[in-house]
Protein backbone atom coordinates (compact mmCIF):
# COMPACT_ATOMS: atom_id res chain seq x y z
CA UNK A 1 0.00 0.00 0.00
CA UNK A 2 1.25 3.46 -0.88
CA UNK A 3 0.56 6.09 1.70
CA UNK A 4 0.94 9.80 1.13
CA UNK A 5 1.44 11.61 4.40
CA UNK A 6 0.64 15.32 4.19
CA UNK A 7 2.57 17.35 6.70
CA UNK A 8 2.91 21.00 7.58
CA UNK A 9 5.71 22.90 9.17
CA UNK A 10 4.22 25.19 11.80
CA UNK A 11 5.57 27.77 14.20
CA UNK A 12 5.83 26.54 17.74
CA UNK A 13 2.66 28.15 19.09
CA UNK A 14 3.64 27.59 22.68
CA UNK A 15 6.47 30.04 22.27
CA UNK A 16 4.96 33.18 20.78
CA UNK A 17 6.51 36.58 21.37
CA UNK A 18 4.72 39.82 20.62
CA UNK A 19 6.01 43.01 19.08
CA UNK A 20 5.04 46.37 20.54
CA UNK A 21 2.27 46.68 17.96
CA UNK A 22 0.68 43.43 19.07
CA UNK A 23 1.75 41.51 16.00
CA UNK A 24 3.46 38.15 16.25
CA UNK A 25 7.20 38.37 16.12
CA UNK A 26 8.02 35.88 13.42
CA UNK A 27 11.77 36.13 13.48
CA UNK A 28 13.29 33.54 15.71
CA UNK A 29 10.03 31.63 15.94
CA UNK A 30 10.93 27.94 16.14
CA UNK A 31 9.35 25.64 13.54
CA UNK A 32 8.10 22.18 14.31
CA UNK A 33 6.23 19.49 12.42
CA UNK A 34 2.55 19.99 13.23
CA UNK A 35 1.90 17.58 16.14
CA UNK A 36 -1.22 16.10 14.54
CA UNK A 37 0.82 15.28 11.43
CA UNK A 38 3.21 13.39 13.70
CA UNK A 39 0.20 11.41 14.97
CA UNK A 40 -0.67 10.70 11.32
CA UNK A 41 2.90 9.50 10.76
CA UNK A 42 2.62 7.29 13.82
CA UNK A 43 -0.49 5.62 12.45
CA UNK A 44 1.29 5.12 9.12
CA UNK A 45 4.25 3.55 10.92
CA UNK A 46 1.84 1.39 12.87
CA UNK A 47 0.41 0.09 9.57
CA UNK A 48 3.94 -0.47 8.32
CA UNK A 49 4.73 -2.61 11.33
CA UNK A 50 1.62 -4.74 10.81
CA UNK A 51 1.47 -5.18 7.03
CA UNK A 52 3.92 -5.94 4.22
CA UNK A 53 4.81 -3.49 1.49
CA UNK A 54 3.74 -0.24 3.06
CA UNK A 55 5.38 2.77 1.52
CA UNK A 56 5.17 6.18 3.15
CA UNK A 57 5.79 9.29 1.07
CA UNK A 58 5.72 12.49 3.08
CA UNK A 59 4.52 15.53 1.19
CA UNK A 60 4.49 19.17 2.17
CA UNK A 61 3.85 22.46 0.49
CA UNK A 62 5.90 25.29 1.87
CA UNK A 63 9.05 27.37 1.61
CA UNK A 64 12.39 25.66 0.99
CA UNK A 65 12.98 25.43 4.76
CA UNK A 66 10.07 23.00 4.91
CA UNK A 67 12.55 20.43 3.61
CA UNK A 68 13.65 20.18 7.24
CA UNK A 69 10.22 18.95 8.25
CA UNK A 70 10.39 16.28 5.53
CA UNK A 71 13.80 15.09 6.71
CA UNK A 72 12.48 15.01 10.24
CA UNK A 73 9.67 12.60 9.33
CA UNK A 74 12.04 10.51 7.21
CA UNK A 75 14.24 10.19 10.28
CA UNK A 76 11.16 8.99 12.13
CA UNK A 77 10.42 6.34 9.51
CA UNK A 78 8.84 7.81 6.36
CA UNK A 79 10.37 6.47 3.14
CA UNK A 80 10.71 9.61 1.08
CA UNK A 81 9.91 13.29 0.95
CA UNK A 82 8.22 15.50 -1.64
CA UNK A 83 8.30 19.28 -1.40
CA UNK A 84 5.89 21.50 -3.31
CA UNK A 85 7.75 24.75 -3.36
CA UNK A 86 7.27 27.80 -5.54
CA UNK A 87 6.89 31.52 -4.94
CA UNK A 88 3.56 31.17 -6.73
CA UNK A 89 2.31 28.86 -3.98
CA UNK A 90 2.92 31.39 -1.21
CA UNK A 91 0.05 32.90 0.73
CA UNK A 92 -2.34 30.06 -0.05
CA UNK A 93 -5.45 29.57 2.07
CA UNK A 94 -6.86 26.09 2.64
CA UNK A 95 -8.68 26.13 -0.70
CA UNK A 96 -5.58 26.92 -2.75
CA UNK A 97 -3.44 24.60 -0.61
CA UNK A 98 -5.79 21.65 -1.06
CA UNK A 99 -6.09 22.34 -4.78
CA UNK A 100 -2.32 22.53 -5.27
CA UNK A 101 -1.62 19.39 -3.24
CA UNK A 102 -4.38 17.49 -5.05
CA UNK A 103 -3.02 18.62 -8.43
CA UNK A 104 0.46 17.43 -7.48
CA UNK A 105 -0.85 14.08 -6.27
CA UNK A 106 -2.91 13.62 -9.43
CA UNK A 107 -0.06 14.42 -11.78
CA UNK A 108 2.99 13.10 -9.93
CA UNK A 109 1.92 10.48 -7.42
CA UNK A 110 -1.02 8.73 -9.08
CA UNK A 111 -0.21 5.39 -7.56
CA UNK A 112 -1.53 5.93 -4.03
CA UNK A 113 -4.00 4.10 -1.81
CA UNK A 114 -4.26 6.21 1.29
CA UNK A 115 -3.66 9.87 2.07
CA UNK A 116 -3.08 10.64 5.73
CA UNK A 117 -3.35 14.12 7.21
CA UNK A 118 -3.33 15.45 10.74
CA UNK A 119 -6.82 16.46 11.85
CA UNK A 120 -5.71 20.01 12.67
CA UNK A 121 -2.70 22.20 12.16
CA UNK A 122 -1.92 23.95 15.40
CA UNK A 123 -1.24 27.34 13.79
CA UNK A 124 -4.37 27.69 11.71
CA UNK A 125 -6.50 24.92 13.18
CA UNK A 126 -8.90 24.98 10.23
CA UNK A 127 -9.15 21.20 9.71
CA UNK A 128 -10.00 21.92 6.09
CA UNK A 129 -7.04 20.88 4.01
CA UNK A 130 -7.60 17.12 4.35
CA UNK A 131 -11.27 17.25 3.29
CA UNK A 132 -10.21 19.74 0.60
CA UNK A 133 -7.68 17.33 -0.89
CA UNK A 134 -10.32 14.60 -0.84
CA UNK A 135 -12.79 16.89 -2.61
CA UNK A 136 -10.37 17.87 -5.37
CA UNK A 137 -9.34 14.24 -5.91
CA UNK A 138 -13.00 13.23 -5.72
CA UNK A 139 -12.29 10.46 -3.21
CA UNK A 140 -13.88 9.73 0.17
CA UNK A 141 -12.67 11.20 3.46
CA UNK A 142 -12.92 10.11 7.05
CA UNK A 143 -12.09 12.78 9.62
CA UNK A 144 -11.50 12.63 13.40
CA UNK A 145 -9.93 9.19 13.16
CA UNK A 146 -8.43 7.83 16.36
CA UNK A 147 -7.24 4.53 15.09
CA UNK A 148 -6.76 2.57 11.89
CA UNK A 149 -7.94 -0.86 12.89
CA UNK A 150 -7.48 -2.93 9.80
CA UNK A 151 -6.33 -2.87 6.21
CA UNK A 152 -7.79 -5.37 3.80
CA UNK A 153 -7.39 -5.19 0.08
CA UNK A 154 -9.10 -2.03 -1.12
CA UNK A 155 -10.47 -0.98 2.26
CA UNK A 156 -9.41 0.30 5.64
CA UNK A 157 -11.42 0.12 8.83
CA UNK A 158 -11.05 2.99 11.25
CA UNK A 159 -12.44 4.28 14.52
CA UNK A 160 -13.81 7.78 14.21
CA UNK A 161 -14.46 9.89 17.28
CA UNK A 162 -17.38 12.26 16.85
CA UNK A 163 -19.06 14.56 19.35
CA UNK A 164 -21.55 11.81 20.01
CA UNK A 165 -19.44 8.69 20.19
CA UNK A 166 -17.20 6.26 18.38
CA UNK A 167 -18.01 5.10 14.87
CA UNK A 168 -16.36 2.08 13.35
CA UNK A 169 -16.15 2.83 9.66
CA UNK A 170 -15.01 0.89 6.65
CA UNK A 171 -13.93 3.12 3.81
CA UNK A 172 -13.10 2.26 0.26
CA UNK A 173 -9.60 3.17 -0.92
CA UNK A 174 -8.21 5.45 -2.13
CA UNK A 175 -9.33 7.78 0.63
CA UNK A 176 -8.16 10.66 2.77
CA UNK A 177 -8.02 9.97 6.50
CA UNK A 178 -7.49 12.74 9.04
CA UNK A 179 -5.90 11.60 12.27
CA UNK A 180 -6.57 12.78 15.81
CA UNK A 181 -4.19 12.05 18.61
CA UNK A 182 -4.19 8.29 18.99
CA UNK A 183 -2.75 6.03 21.61
CA UNK A 184 0.73 5.67 20.23
CA UNK A 185 4.04 5.72 21.94
CA UNK A 186 5.93 8.74 20.72
CA UNK A 187 8.23 7.69 17.91
CA UNK A 188 11.84 8.73 18.27
CA UNK A 189 14.28 9.04 15.40
CA UNK A 190 16.73 6.15 15.07
CA UNK A 191 20.38 6.53 14.09
CA UNK A 192 19.65 4.72 10.84
CA UNK A 193 16.70 7.00 10.28
CA UNK A 194 18.76 10.09 10.79
CA UNK A 195 21.39 8.87 8.35
CA UNK A 196 18.71 7.97 5.81
CA UNK A 197 17.11 11.38 6.28
CA UNK A 198 20.42 13.12 5.58
CA UNK A 199 21.03 11.05 2.46
CA UNK A 200 17.48 11.19 1.12
CA UNK A 201 16.91 13.16 -2.01
CA UNK A 202 13.83 15.33 -1.58
CA UNK A 203 11.73 15.52 -4.73
CA UNK A 204 10.79 19.10 -5.54
CA UNK A 205 7.94 20.31 -7.68
CA UNK A 206 6.99 23.84 -8.63
CA UNK A 207 4.16 25.47 -10.53
CA UNK A 208 5.52 24.25 -13.91
CA UNK A 209 5.34 20.64 -12.76
CA UNK A 210 1.64 20.59 -11.93
CA UNK A 211 -1.42 21.16 -14.13
CA UNK A 212 -2.46 24.48 -12.56
CA UNK A 213 -1.93 28.09 -13.64
CA UNK A 214 -0.29 30.58 -11.28
CA UNK A 215 -3.62 32.39 -10.74
CA UNK A 216 -5.07 29.19 -9.30
CA UNK A 217 -2.45 28.88 -6.57
CA UNK A 218 -1.07 30.85 -3.65
CA UNK A 219 -2.53 34.16 -2.60
CA UNK A 220 -4.13 34.72 -6.02
CA UNK A 221 -5.90 31.41 -5.98
CA UNK A 222 -7.25 31.88 -2.46
CA UNK A 223 -10.88 32.87 -1.99
CA UNK A 224 -10.30 34.09 1.56
CA UNK A 225 -8.08 36.83 2.90
CA UNK A 226 -7.28 38.21 6.31
CA UNK A 227 -8.66 41.71 6.61
CA UNK A 228 -7.44 42.28 10.14
CA UNK A 229 -5.32 40.45 12.69
CA UNK A 230 -5.17 41.47 16.31
CA UNK A 231 -4.14 40.17 19.67
CA UNK A 232 -6.78 38.18 21.47
CA UNK A 233 -8.47 40.28 24.12
CA UNK A 234 -7.90 39.18 27.64
CA UNK A 235 -10.86 38.80 29.89
CA UNK A 236 -11.10 42.14 31.60
CA UNK A 237 -11.18 41.25 35.27
CA UNK A 238 -9.36 41.97 38.44
CA UNK A 239 -8.99 38.83 40.44
CA UNK A 240 -10.21 39.15 44.00
CA UNK A 241 -8.15 36.88 46.19
CA UNK A 242 -9.99 35.14 48.97
CA UNK A 243 -8.27 34.19 52.18
CA UNK A 244 -10.42 31.55 53.80
CA UNK A 245 -12.62 28.69 52.77
CA UNK A 246 -15.70 30.09 54.52
CA UNK A 247 -15.62 33.16 52.36
CA UNK A 248 -15.07 31.00 49.29
CA UNK A 249 -18.20 29.03 50.17
CA UNK A 250 -20.14 32.29 50.40
CA UNK A 251 -18.87 33.41 47.00
CA UNK A 252 -19.81 30.09 45.39
CA UNK A 253 -23.25 30.20 46.95
CA UNK A 254 -23.91 33.77 45.90
CA UNK A 255 -22.85 33.07 42.30
CA UNK A 256 -25.15 30.06 42.13
CA UNK A 257 -27.95 32.10 43.58
CA UNK A 258 -28.16 30.28 46.88
CA UNK A 259 -28.16 32.29 50.08
CA UNK A 260 -28.01 31.07 53.58
Amino acid sequence: MNIILCIKQVPDTTDIKWTENNTIQREGLESVVNPYDVYALESALDLKSRYEDINISALTMGPSQAEKALRKVIALGADKGILLCDKKFAGADTYATAKTIAAAIKSKLQDYDLILCGQFAVDGDTAQTGPGIATFLDIPQVTYVKEIVEYTRGYVTVIRETDEGLEKIRVKLPAVICILKGEFETTRPTINGIIRAQKSKILKYGIDDIPLCPVETGLKGSPTYVSRAFRALKRDVNCKFIGDVKELVQVINSVRGKHE
Binding site: I16, Y144, I252, V255
Partner: protein, 328 residues
Protein backbone atom coordinates in the same frame (compact mmCIF):
# COMPACT_ATOMS: atom_id res chain seq x y z
CA UNK B 1 -32.97 41.52 -2.44
CA UNK B 2 -30.30 39.18 -1.22
CA UNK B 3 -30.75 35.46 -1.61
CA UNK B 4 -30.31 34.78 2.05
CA UNK B 5 -28.31 33.42 4.91
CA UNK B 6 -28.40 29.68 5.03
CA UNK B 7 -28.14 27.85 8.35
CA UNK B 8 -27.28 24.15 8.32
CA UNK B 9 -29.75 22.28 10.51
CA UNK B 10 -27.68 19.58 12.13
CA UNK B 11 -29.53 16.38 12.95
CA UNK B 12 -27.85 14.28 15.62
CA UNK B 13 -27.71 10.50 15.68
CA UNK B 14 -30.58 10.54 18.12
CA UNK B 15 -32.64 12.54 15.67
CA UNK B 16 -32.89 15.83 17.40
CA UNK B 17 -31.70 19.16 16.09
CA UNK B 18 -28.35 20.14 17.51
CA UNK B 19 -28.78 23.32 19.61
CA UNK B 20 -26.04 25.01 17.57
CA UNK B 21 -28.63 25.21 14.77
CA UNK B 22 -30.67 27.68 16.82
CA UNK B 23 -27.64 29.56 18.08
CA UNK B 24 -26.67 30.13 14.45
CA UNK B 25 -30.25 31.09 13.59
CA UNK B 26 -30.19 33.75 16.30
CA UNK B 27 -27.01 35.18 14.84
CA UNK B 28 -28.29 34.87 11.26
CA UNK B 29 -31.38 36.95 12.11
CA UNK B 30 -29.11 39.64 13.55
CA UNK B 31 -26.81 39.59 10.50
CA UNK B 32 -29.78 39.65 8.12
CA UNK B 33 -31.01 42.87 9.76
CA UNK B 34 -27.75 44.50 8.66
CA UNK B 35 -28.26 43.37 5.08
CA UNK B 36 -30.82 44.21 2.46
CA UNK B 37 -34.04 42.19 2.91
CA UNK B 38 -32.25 38.99 3.56
CA UNK B 39 -34.16 35.86 4.49
CA UNK B 40 -32.83 33.33 6.99
CA UNK B 41 -33.09 29.89 5.44
CA UNK B 42 -32.64 26.54 7.15
CA UNK B 43 -31.31 23.54 5.25
CA UNK B 44 -32.25 20.17 6.67
CA UNK B 45 -30.96 16.94 5.14
CA UNK B 46 -32.28 13.86 6.87
CA UNK B 47 -34.15 10.64 6.55
CA UNK B 48 -37.85 11.08 5.63
CA UNK B 49 -40.49 12.13 8.18
CA UNK B 50 -38.31 14.18 10.48
CA UNK B 51 -39.30 17.61 9.22
CA UNK B 52 -42.69 17.44 10.95
CA UNK B 53 -41.09 17.12 14.36
CA UNK B 54 -38.91 20.15 13.82
CA UNK B 55 -41.41 22.59 12.31
CA UNK B 56 -42.26 24.32 15.57
CA UNK B 57 -38.62 24.72 16.50
CA UNK B 58 -37.86 26.34 13.15
CA UNK B 59 -40.85 28.68 13.51
CA UNK B 60 -39.85 29.79 16.98
CA UNK B 61 -36.25 30.46 16.01
CA UNK B 62 -36.81 33.03 13.31
CA UNK B 63 -36.39 31.00 10.14
CA UNK B 64 -38.11 32.60 7.12
CA UNK B 65 -37.81 29.46 5.07
CA UNK B 66 -36.65 25.89 5.50
CA UNK B 67 -35.54 23.75 2.59
CA UNK B 68 -35.48 20.07 3.36
CA UNK B 69 -34.13 17.01 1.62
CA UNK B 70 -35.71 13.83 2.93
CA UNK B 71 -34.17 10.60 1.69
CA UNK B 72 -33.84 7.08 3.10
CA UNK B 73 -30.14 7.14 2.30
CA UNK B 74 -29.66 10.06 4.67
CA UNK B 75 -30.59 7.91 7.64
CA UNK B 76 -27.10 8.24 9.12
CA UNK B 77 -24.58 11.00 8.56
CA UNK B 78 -22.19 9.96 5.81
CA UNK B 79 -19.97 12.62 4.33
CA UNK B 80 -20.36 11.80 0.66
CA UNK B 81 -24.14 11.42 0.57
CA UNK B 82 -24.76 14.43 2.79
CA UNK B 83 -22.36 16.53 0.74
CA UNK B 84 -24.15 15.59 -2.45
CA UNK B 85 -27.58 16.39 -1.03
CA UNK B 86 -26.45 19.64 0.58
CA UNK B 87 -24.54 20.91 -2.45
CA UNK B 88 -27.47 20.18 -4.72
CA UNK B 89 -29.86 22.11 -2.49
CA UNK B 90 -27.40 24.96 -1.97
CA UNK B 91 -26.98 25.41 -5.73
CA UNK B 92 -30.73 25.89 -6.00
CA UNK B 93 -31.02 28.21 -3.00
CA UNK B 94 -27.90 30.17 -4.02
CA UNK B 95 -27.40 31.83 -0.62
CA UNK B 96 -24.99 34.66 0.08
CA UNK B 97 -23.82 33.24 3.39
CA UNK B 98 -23.75 29.71 4.82
CA UNK B 99 -23.36 29.09 8.57
CA UNK B 100 -22.72 25.67 10.06
CA UNK B 101 -21.91 24.40 13.53
CA UNK B 102 -18.24 23.69 14.20
CA UNK B 103 -19.22 20.25 15.43
CA UNK B 104 -17.56 17.10 14.14
CA UNK B 105 -20.34 16.92 11.55
CA UNK B 106 -20.05 20.57 10.50
CA UNK B 107 -16.30 20.54 10.32
CA UNK B 108 -16.37 17.38 8.24
CA UNK B 109 -19.04 18.58 5.84
CA UNK B 110 -18.37 22.31 5.50
CA UNK B 111 -15.00 22.01 3.71
CA UNK B 112 -16.44 19.42 1.35
CA UNK B 113 -19.14 21.94 0.42
CA UNK B 114 -16.90 25.01 0.24
CA UNK B 115 -14.24 23.32 -1.87
CA UNK B 116 -16.86 21.94 -4.25
CA UNK B 117 -18.40 25.39 -4.62
CA UNK B 118 -14.92 26.96 -5.01
CA UNK B 119 -15.51 29.36 -2.22
CA UNK B 120 -13.95 30.39 1.08
CA UNK B 121 -14.67 28.89 4.48
CA UNK B 122 -13.66 30.29 7.85
CA UNK B 123 -13.61 27.60 10.50
CA UNK B 124 -14.42 27.83 14.16
CA UNK B 125 -15.37 31.50 14.31
CA UNK B 126 -15.95 33.31 17.56
CA UNK B 127 -17.55 36.43 16.07
CA UNK B 128 -19.50 37.18 12.90
CA UNK B 129 -20.49 40.54 11.52
CA UNK B 130 -21.51 42.27 8.31
CA UNK B 131 -18.97 44.88 7.25
CA UNK B 132 -19.60 48.20 5.51
CA UNK B 133 -19.51 46.48 2.09
CA UNK B 134 -22.22 44.08 3.17
CA UNK B 135 -19.77 41.17 3.42
CA UNK B 136 -19.45 38.55 6.11
CA UNK B 137 -16.56 39.41 8.44
CA UNK B 138 -15.69 36.20 10.26
CA UNK B 139 -13.33 36.41 13.23
CA UNK B 140 -11.49 33.38 14.56
CA UNK B 141 -8.59 32.59 16.84
CA UNK B 142 -5.34 31.33 15.30
CA UNK B 143 -1.90 30.57 16.66
CA UNK B 144 -3.20 28.59 19.56
CA UNK B 145 -5.78 31.22 20.42
CA UNK B 146 -3.25 34.00 20.75
CA UNK B 147 -4.02 35.89 17.57
CA UNK B 148 -7.47 36.82 16.29
CA UNK B 149 -7.97 37.13 12.54
CA UNK B 150 -10.94 38.63 10.73
CA UNK B 151 -11.38 36.83 7.44
CA UNK B 152 -13.36 37.78 4.35
CA UNK B 153 -14.20 35.73 1.29
CA UNK B 154 -13.89 37.04 -2.26
CA UNK B 155 -16.30 34.43 -3.53
CA UNK B 156 -19.85 33.56 -2.70
CA UNK B 157 -21.40 31.89 -0.81
CA UNK B 158 -19.30 33.09 2.13
CA UNK B 159 -19.06 30.25 4.60
CA UNK B 160 -18.27 29.98 8.29
CA UNK B 161 -18.48 27.38 11.04
CA UNK B 162 -19.08 28.37 14.66
CA UNK B 163 -18.71 26.25 17.77
CA UNK B 164 -21.68 25.39 19.93
CA UNK B 165 -22.31 27.88 22.75
CA UNK B 166 -20.53 30.81 21.15
CA UNK B 167 -23.84 32.47 20.23
CA UNK B 168 -27.12 32.36 22.05
CA UNK B 169 -30.37 31.27 20.46
CA UNK B 170 -33.11 33.86 20.17
CA UNK B 171 -36.29 31.96 20.94
CA UNK B 172 -39.41 33.81 19.80
CA UNK B 173 -42.59 33.49 21.80
CA UNK B 174 -44.65 33.99 18.68
CA UNK B 175 -44.35 31.74 15.67
CA UNK B 176 -42.95 32.99 12.42
CA UNK B 177 -44.87 31.87 9.32
CA UNK B 178 -41.93 29.87 8.08
CA UNK B 179 -42.23 28.46 4.56
CA UNK B 180 -41.23 24.78 4.20
CA UNK B 181 -40.02 23.61 0.82
CA UNK B 182 -39.09 20.08 -0.12
CA UNK B 183 -36.04 19.73 -2.33
CA UNK B 184 -35.70 16.48 -4.25
CA UNK B 185 -32.26 14.96 -4.74
CA UNK B 186 -31.94 11.64 -6.48
CA UNK B 187 -29.58 9.48 -4.45
CA UNK B 188 -30.98 6.17 -5.69
CA UNK B 189 -27.93 5.32 -7.80
CA UNK B 190 -25.47 6.66 -5.33
CA UNK B 191 -23.77 4.39 -2.84
CA UNK B 192 -21.64 5.73 -0.05
CA UNK B 193 -17.94 4.83 -0.05
CA UNK B 194 -18.16 4.39 3.68
CA UNK B 195 -19.99 1.88 5.75
CA UNK B 196 -20.65 2.47 9.43
CA UNK B 197 -20.10 -0.94 10.98
CA UNK B 198 -20.69 -0.03 14.58
CA UNK B 199 -21.43 2.91 16.85
CA UNK B 200 -20.69 3.27 20.52
CA UNK B 201 -22.24 6.15 22.35
CA UNK B 202 -19.86 8.05 24.54
CA UNK B 203 -19.96 6.77 28.07
CA UNK B 204 -19.12 10.06 29.63
CA UNK B 205 -22.31 12.03 29.36
CA UNK B 206 -20.34 15.09 30.38
CA UNK B 207 -20.25 15.98 26.72
CA UNK B 208 -23.86 17.08 26.62
CA UNK B 209 -23.72 18.21 30.21
CA UNK B 210 -20.87 20.55 29.48
CA UNK B 211 -22.82 22.26 26.73
CA UNK B 212 -25.69 23.11 29.01
CA UNK B 213 -24.11 23.07 32.45
CA UNK B 214 -24.60 26.12 34.63
CA UNK B 215 -21.73 25.13 36.85
CA UNK B 216 -18.53 23.44 35.71
CA UNK B 217 -15.81 22.18 38.00
CA UNK B 218 -12.65 21.75 35.96
CA UNK B 219 -9.47 19.97 36.93
CA UNK B 220 -5.93 20.14 35.61
CA UNK B 221 -2.67 18.40 36.20
CA UNK B 222 -2.78 19.69 39.77
CA UNK B 223 -5.55 17.14 40.50
CA UNK B 224 -2.78 14.54 40.09
CA UNK B 225 -4.76 11.31 39.78
CA UNK B 226 -8.05 9.66 38.92
CA UNK B 227 -8.85 9.85 42.63
CA UNK B 228 -8.31 13.57 42.39
CA UNK B 229 -10.95 13.64 39.69
CA UNK B 230 -13.28 11.54 41.85
CA UNK B 231 -13.00 14.32 44.37
CA UNK B 232 -13.96 16.82 41.67
CA UNK B 233 -16.92 14.65 40.74
CA UNK B 234 -18.14 14.82 44.34
CA UNK B 235 -17.59 18.56 44.38
CA UNK B 236 -19.51 18.94 41.11
CA UNK B 237 -22.34 16.72 42.38
CA UNK B 238 -22.66 18.94 45.45
CA UNK B 239 -23.12 21.93 43.16
CA UNK B 240 -25.25 20.14 40.58
CA UNK B 241 -22.53 20.77 38.04
CA UNK B 242 -20.41 18.92 35.48
CA UNK B 243 -16.75 17.99 35.40
CA UNK B 244 -14.32 19.31 32.80
CA UNK B 245 -10.57 19.00 32.37
CA UNK B 246 -7.48 20.61 30.90
CA UNK B 247 -5.70 18.92 28.07
CA UNK B 248 -2.83 17.88 30.26
CA UNK B 249 -5.25 16.15 32.62
CA UNK B 250 -6.77 14.36 29.61
CA UNK B 251 -3.36 13.39 28.29
CA UNK B 252 -2.42 11.98 31.67
CA UNK B 253 -5.55 9.85 31.52
CA UNK B 254 -7.20 11.55 34.52
CA UNK B 255 -10.32 12.45 32.54
CA UNK B 256 -11.80 11.41 29.19
CA UNK B 257 -11.13 13.49 26.07
CA UNK B 258 -14.72 14.67 25.79
CA UNK B 259 -14.32 16.56 29.05
CA UNK B 260 -11.51 18.67 27.62
CA UNK B 261 -12.07 22.38 27.52
CA UNK B 262 -10.01 24.69 25.35
CA UNK B 263 -8.73 25.28 21.89
CA UNK B 264 -8.70 21.62 20.93
CA UNK B 265 -11.59 20.74 23.22
CA UNK B 266 -14.92 22.33 24.00
CA UNK B 267 -15.92 25.92 24.45
CA UNK B 268 -18.08 26.34 27.51
CA UNK B 269 -20.02 29.27 28.91
CA UNK B 270 -21.43 28.29 32.28
CA UNK B 271 -22.57 30.73 34.97
CA UNK B 272 -19.71 29.52 37.13
CA UNK B 273 -16.43 27.84 36.15
CA UNK B 274 -14.24 26.61 38.98
CA UNK B 275 -10.69 25.84 37.79
CA UNK B 276 -8.84 23.52 40.17
CA UNK B 277 -5.14 22.90 39.66
CA UNK B 278 -5.21 24.42 36.18
CA UNK B 279 -2.39 26.80 35.27
CA UNK B 280 -4.44 28.84 32.79
CA UNK B 281 -2.57 28.35 29.52
CA UNK B 282 -4.09 30.43 26.72
CA UNK B 283 -5.18 27.28 24.90
CA UNK B 284 -7.26 26.39 27.92
CA UNK B 285 -8.51 29.90 28.58
CA UNK B 286 -9.98 30.38 25.09
CA UNK B 287 -12.41 27.59 25.88
CA UNK B 288 -13.73 29.01 29.15
CA UNK B 289 -13.14 32.76 29.30
CA UNK B 290 -16.71 33.56 28.37
CA UNK B 291 -18.00 31.93 31.51
CA UNK B 292 -19.98 34.44 33.55
CA UNK B 293 -17.88 34.00 36.68
CA UNK B 294 -14.60 32.19 37.11
CA UNK B 295 -13.10 30.97 40.37
CA UNK B 296 -9.55 29.58 40.40
CA UNK B 297 -7.97 27.40 43.05
CA UNK B 298 -4.22 26.95 42.63
CA UNK B 299 -1.26 26.65 44.97
CA UNK B 300 0.86 28.96 42.83
CA UNK B 301 -0.15 32.58 43.41
CA UNK B 302 1.45 33.55 40.10
CA UNK B 303 -0.45 31.02 38.00
CA UNK B 304 -1.86 32.79 34.91
CA UNK B 305 -5.32 31.39 35.63
CA UNK B 306 -5.70 34.18 38.20
CA UNK B 307 -5.49 36.74 35.36
CA UNK B 308 -8.82 35.55 34.01
CA UNK B 309 -10.48 34.63 37.31
CA UNK B 310 -12.98 36.81 39.15
CA UNK B 311 -12.05 35.13 42.42
CA UNK B 312 -8.86 33.39 43.37
CA UNK B 313 -7.93 31.06 46.17
CA UNK B 314 -4.27 30.25 46.72
CA UNK B 315 -4.07 26.83 48.29
CA UNK B 316 -3.76 23.09 47.89
CA UNK B 317 -6.75 21.57 46.08
CA UNK B 318 -6.60 18.49 48.31
CA UNK B 319 -6.97 20.70 51.31
CA UNK B 320 -9.57 23.14 49.98
CA UNK B 321 -11.94 20.94 47.98
CA UNK B 322 -12.82 18.48 50.78
CA UNK B 323 -13.62 21.48 53.00
CA UNK B 324 -15.81 22.93 50.28
CA UNK B 325 -17.61 19.61 49.81
CA UNK B 326 -18.35 19.55 53.53
CA UNK B 327 -19.52 23.13 53.75
CA UNK B 328 -21.67 23.44 50.64
Amino acid sequence: MSKGILVWAEVTRENYLHPVTFELAGKAVELASKMDETPVIGLLCSKPNLIGEFKDAFKHNGFDKVVYVAEEKLEEYKTDLYAQAAIDAIKTIDPEIILMGATTQGRDLAPRISMSLHTGLTADCTALDINEDGKLAATRPTFGGQLMATILSKNSPQMATVRPKVFRPNYLDSEKDTIFIKHGVDLSNKNSSIEILDFKKKLCSDINDLDSADIIVAGGKGMQSKEGFDLLRQFADKLGGSVAASRTAVELGLAPQQCQVGQTGKTVTPKLYIACGISGALQHVVGMENSEKIIAINNDKDAPIFNVADYGFVGDVFDVIPQLINSL
